[in-house]
């Protein structure tokens, strides 16, 4: 069981048996009747809380003696453990956030102070004149106490250079002496000189390369334009050729068809049979004559 668990359990048990705690009951009863006392106690509690938070944040490992602050501190410690490797930035951001929170609480408390003053003036039964005066003094002391809560903007006097809240700004100094710049400064310029020279060289080489490219592109552009014009010149010629060739192909087709018709007519089977018959007749006549003459 961890410490946290123990603490929570203790808290719960106390809360459960609060009604049996005579002192607390008395206080609660007392406060029930006394608006001033109630309000005052609330304001006190808030101040304590703000101080504790601020205190805890600046000195995270100190323990305090109220359960609430203890729990708060332990939670905070756990968070710190969890975010062990939190960067300074984050811490600063958290610091800034907490400071803002504290400032808000302070503003709220300052608003409550006039109410408390009014209540303090009222007479309450069961309280003596001295109590009344002490109450008034307590109320007067409240604004100072509230203002005294550190929220990051009031600790100006202790910081050097008149700046900042967080610790990480301490390295930045604006009134440093001339000597610090002396030797370091010159060393830097040697390196940067070399760098600059190299940069200039490279730039020159790039420029040369770009010049070559631009010349090549110029030539290409001119060649392309000339080609374009030449092609434009050829287009009407091509159109003419196309029409002429179309005409010629149609003529040839026509002629082919006619030729085919003629050939089929010539080579038709009727003519062929007639040729064979005539040939046979001629051979017959020749044979007859041959026989006759023999």
């Amino acid at each position: 069981m961890t410490v946290i668990d123990i603490l929570f359990r203790v808290d719960e048990i106390c809360k459960k048996y609060d009604k049996y705690d005579p002192e607390k009951q008395r206080e609660a009863n007392a406060f029930l009747d006394d608006a001033f006392a109630r309000l005052y106690s609330l304001v006190e509690a808030d101040i304590e809380k703000a101080l504790a938070v601020r205190f805890l944040f600046s000195y995270p490992f100190l323990f305090l003696f109220s359960f609430q602050t203890l729990i708060f501190q332990i939670n905070y410690w756990n968070k710190m453990q969890k975010s062990d490797k939190v960067s300074t930035e984050k811490n600063r951001a958290a610091a800034v956030a907490l400071s803002a929170e504290i400032r808000r609480i302070k503003a709220r408390l300052m608003e409550e102070v006039p109410k408390l003053q009014k209540l303090a003036k009222k007479k309450v039964k069961g309280h003596s004149k001295e109590d009344h005066e002490t109450r008034f003094d307590m109320v007067l002391a409240l604004p100072d106490r509230i203002k005294a809560i550190p929220d990051g903007s009031t600790a100006a006097a202790s910081e050097s250079g008149g700046w900042g809240t967080s610790s990480s700004n301490k390295k930045v100094k604006f009134d440093s002496s001339e000597e610090r710049f002396g030797s370091d400064f010159y060393q830097q310029t040697e390196e940067s000189d070399q760098f600059r020279q190299e940069y200039e060289m490279r730039k020159m080489k790039q420029d040369e390369g770009l010049d070559v490219i631009s010349e090549g592109l110029d030539t290409l552009k001119n060649i392309a334009l000339d080609m374009n014009e030449e092609i434009d010149r050829q287009v009407p010629l091509m159109d003419e050729i196309e029409t002429k060739v179309d005409k010629t192909t149609s003529d040839i087709r026509k002629n082919n068809v006619r030729l085919k018709k003629t050939i089929t007519q010539i080579r038709s089977s009727r003519n062929f049979c007639i040729d064979i018959i005539l040939l046979c007749i001629i051979l017959g006549i020749a044979f007859y004559l041959y026989n006759a003459l023999k």
């Binding site: 010349e215 110029d218 030539t219 001119n222 334009l225 000339d226 014009e229 434009d232 010149r233």
Partner: protein
């Protein structure tokens, strides 16, 4: 028949064409055929004179047979042979006849082609005649609205004029070239023509004319937007400053190499004469302007 002596063929064809008591009408068809065969035979045997004569007669025959196309073709062959014989007047005559025959066939392109061939043949010997032939050829093409074909001819004329050192005429033709290019939307050729005109004027060492020409050409949108315009401007400003090195450097740049070869040669030779004179003139001009301002 092709194997027989061309001379015999010619005499045979002559017989067929001459009218006599036995022959009442000339047989042009067979005669023309014979003439052509004879001409080919003579050409093969490198007897150019006779071949030329044979082609001439063949062309006449074709004309008689009402085929001007073939007649023109024969005439062109005759002219080519006359060129071999370096008989320039005959060359010109034959080509002109051929172009007339082509026009009869309603083919102006071929007509201008034959005139251009004629001009090309005689441009060394008779440059003025060549110029005349080229111009006629251009006129033929422009009548037929084929200006694009004329661009090469204009270039040729310009080259002849530059050779003859007649720079103003050369520029005139370059501007005509620009006009023709404009009609057929050949902006690149147009801009190149204008740039060439400026260069020719500068070569003739006439800065005022060059500037005037440049200003005139700058009126034209296409030229104004082109690279050639920028280049011409640079060249003229280099001239005005009288900076010889700058002129040489500008003249070596890429834009020049895309022009006609003759113009490139001119550009490489820039600057001709004394550019310092231009510089002082320019300075004086500026000085006067300043004085006027001061007086005001």
């Amino acid at each position: 028949m092709s194997g027989s002596d061309p001379g015999k063929l010619i005499s045979k064809a002559d017989n067929l064409t001459t009218l006599s008591l036995t022959r009442w009408s000339a047989d042009w068809e067979s005669a023309t055929r014979l003439y052509e065969q004879a001409a080919n035979g003579f050409r093969v045997s490198k007897d150019y004179e006779n071949a030329k004569l044979a082609f001439e007669k063949a062309s006449k025959g074709r004309e008689m047979l009402s085929s001007p196309w073939d007649a023109a073709k024969s005439m062109e062959s005759a002219a080519a042979l006359a060129k071999e014989l370096r008989n320039w007047t005959e060359v010109i005559d034959f080509y002109r006849k051929a172009s007339e025959l082509y026009m009869q066939c309603d083919r102006p392109q071929f007509a201008s082609d034959s005139l251009a061939k004629a001009a090309c043949a005689v441009e060394d010997a008779l440059p003025s005649d060549a110029i005349k032939l080229y111009s006629d050829a251009c006129v033929l093409l422009e009548d037929d609205r084929k200006e694009q074909m004329a661009l090469d001819l204009y270039h040729a004329v310009t080259n002849i004029y530059v050779k003859l050192e007649k720079y103003t005429d050369a520029v005139a033709f370059l501007l005509k070239l620009g006009l023709a290019a404009d009609k057929c939307n050949a902006t690149n050729s147009q801009c190149k023509a204008y740039l060439s005109a400026v260069i020719v004027y500068l070569y003739a060492h006439d800065l005022k004319q060059a500037e005037k020409c440049y200003n005139d050409c700058s009126q034209i949108d296409a030229f104004l937007r082109s690279d050639q315009n920028r280049f011409a401007g640079k060249l003229l400003s280099a001239y005005k400053e009288g900076d010889v090195e700058e002129i040489k450097r500008v003249a070596q740049s890429r834009s020049i190499t895309n022009l006609d070869s003759v113009i490139i040669k001119l550009a490489r030779k820039l600057p001709t004469g004394d550019v310092a004179a231009f510089k002082t003139n320019a300075a004086i001009g500026e000085g006067e302007a300043l004085d006027e301002n001061d007086l005001k």
